[in-house]
């Protein structure tokens, strides 16, 4: 099968390659670009571990062919830290609030939460839970993930983070 030339911007850098049409975006990112942050979890479009930000949308990269992402602007967890190397508010929130245990879902959670906060700067707890409903975590029970996102929202809005009473 003839290969196709693709070019896309990934974490601010241009990536060009020849791909088979059947190459999934997640395989392209992990195997050809060595970006192993996006994870392969369920492979059936449920778990969200492979989530990347693509043209301003959260996308499950296991359910898109690399050829379909030709020309796209993509951000993965590897491109999330601030330009000076310090952690993005979301990464800091996940660390401070213990938003991860095994860490497998975390890259997908953070890239999804990034887009959620772009669209809604001060989401309620319910909006956060609805907004990350496409990302599964088998460790935390989500409590601390929600807190981590609230922490990040507060930090990005320049207001002190107040943990809700339990």
């Amino acid at each position: 099968m003839a290969k196709s030339q693709v070019a896309m911007k990934v974490n601010g850098k241009t990536a060009e390659a020849l791909v088979e049409p059947r190459t999934l975006l997640i395989h392209f990112l992990r195997e050809q670009l060595s970006l192993t942050g996006p994870h392969i979890g369920c492979e059936t479009s449920h778990c969200g571990a492979c989530t990347v930000d693509l043209n301003g949308k959260s996308v499950k990269s296991c359910t898109m062919f690399a050829v379909q992402a030709n020309g796209a602007d993509i951000r993965t967890i590897e491109g999330m830290a601030n330009p000076d190397g310090t952690l993005h508010a979301l990464q800091e929130g996940f660390r401070e609030m213990h938003g991860l245990q095994c860490g497998f879902c975390t890259p997908g959670m953070i890239t999804r939460a990034y887009r959620l906060l772009q669209e809604n700067k001060s989401p309620s707890e319910e909006e956060i839970r609805f907004g990350i409903a496409g990302n599964l975590c088998r460790c935390t029970g989500y409590q601390n993930i929600v807190k981590a996102i609230q922490y990040a929202a507060a930090k990005l809005n320049g207001v002190p983070f107040q943990e809700a009473a339990e």
Binding site: M1, A2, S4, E20, P21, R22, L24, H27, E43, T44, S45, H46, G48, T51, K57, S58, V59, K60, T63, M64, F65, V67, Q68, R112, L116, F130, G131, I132, A133, G134
Partner: protein
């Protein structure tokens, strides 16, 4: 999981896509958002030799008013449906339904056209389109034709689409101002297909039902239009006894499979419960 090999085509016009699909015949398959097709390809339940990606066709995008109809391009995503102020004010059941489709990531990519054209009885939009009396615009070898949603579905994954056809747009008549509506969906978890779901659009006048339409999701091989149930309700005040009779009439036309979502008899009863809830909520939203 890696799909079988295929050749990729990305036409830039509907005419080009129809020409390609007509030429490729059974070897070709159109791909819209791909969130039904790509998982099937990964499982090798679908192994098309050629994929015709509709994603590069600008004409298939957009939401516009046309007289008393709203026309939604087939490649409009669920996310775009949710964000449309025009639909939000004129046909709000669509936003309510879209928000119950799959999960956020899938809604960014999944399209209305794919949802209605695939013929999957688990998809939510077909029953809503049947409820609303929508029409599908289809382009094929012989030019454009229109097919009523109520006549489109023939069996699970069997529709009025023929080889080489592309569903280009969904044309929806705007329900009267002040109508009540609801889409009630029972699912085991976010992202799941319905165990059973019911769509209701109704108008009230002087406390009585002036018009009513009901669609049911995933309780038969096709989405269902519960015409008899709607007839029973018309003219009533939605009193408990009449609702009970209408729900029985709706349950009578279901024939759900027994599967992981429950035995068929349970799913039939859940269709009745969803309809009862949808009627109550639609009534509370209706004016008149």
């Amino acid at each position: 999981m890696i799909p079988g090999a295929f050749e990729y085509h990305r036409p830039s016009s509907v005419r080009e896509a129809v020409g390609l699909l007509a030429k490729l015949g059974d070897d070709g398959r159109a791909i819209a958002g791909g969130h039904s097709l790509i998982p099937m390809m990964k499982l090798r339940l679908a192994t098309p030799a050629h994929l015709v990606d509709l994603g590069g066709i600008a004409d298939l995008k957009g939401i516009r008013a046309d007289g008393n109809d709203i026309v939604v391009g087939a490649m409009t995503t669920q996310y775009e449906l949710i964000g449309s102020d025009l639909l939000g004010s004129k046909i709000p059941i669509l936003r309510e339904t879209s928000l119950q489709v799959a999960d956020p990531q899938v809604r960014y990519v999944g399209t209305l056209g794919g949802n209605v054209a695939n013929g999957d009885p688990g998809n939510d939009m077909p029953a809503v389109m049947i409820c609303l009396g929508a029409t599908y615009q289809v382009m094929g070898k012989g030019g454009e034709r229109r097919v009523a949603a109520r006549e489109f579905y023939q069996g699970a994954y069997f529709t009025a689409l023929e080889a080489g056809d592309v569903l280009t747009a969904v044309r929806i008549p705007v329900p009267p101002a002040g109508h009540g509506y609801a889409y009630e969906k029972l699912k085991r978890k976010i992202g799941d297909y319905a165990t059973a779901a019911a769509a209701v659009v109704l108008t009230m006048s002087g406390g009585k039902v002036a018009s009513c339409s009901i669609g049911l999701t995933n309780v038969a091989e096709t989405p269902l239009w519960a015409e008899e149930a709607a007839k029973i309700l018309t003219g009533s005040s939605l009193d408990a006894a009449t609702v009970k009779r209408a729900v029985a009439a709706a349950e009578a036309i279901t024939a759900p499979a027994s599967d992981a979502r429950g035995p068929g008899a349970y799913r039939t009863k859940m269709a009745g419960v969803m309809l009862t809830r949808a009627l109550a909520r639609a009534k509370s939203k209706a004016r008149g």
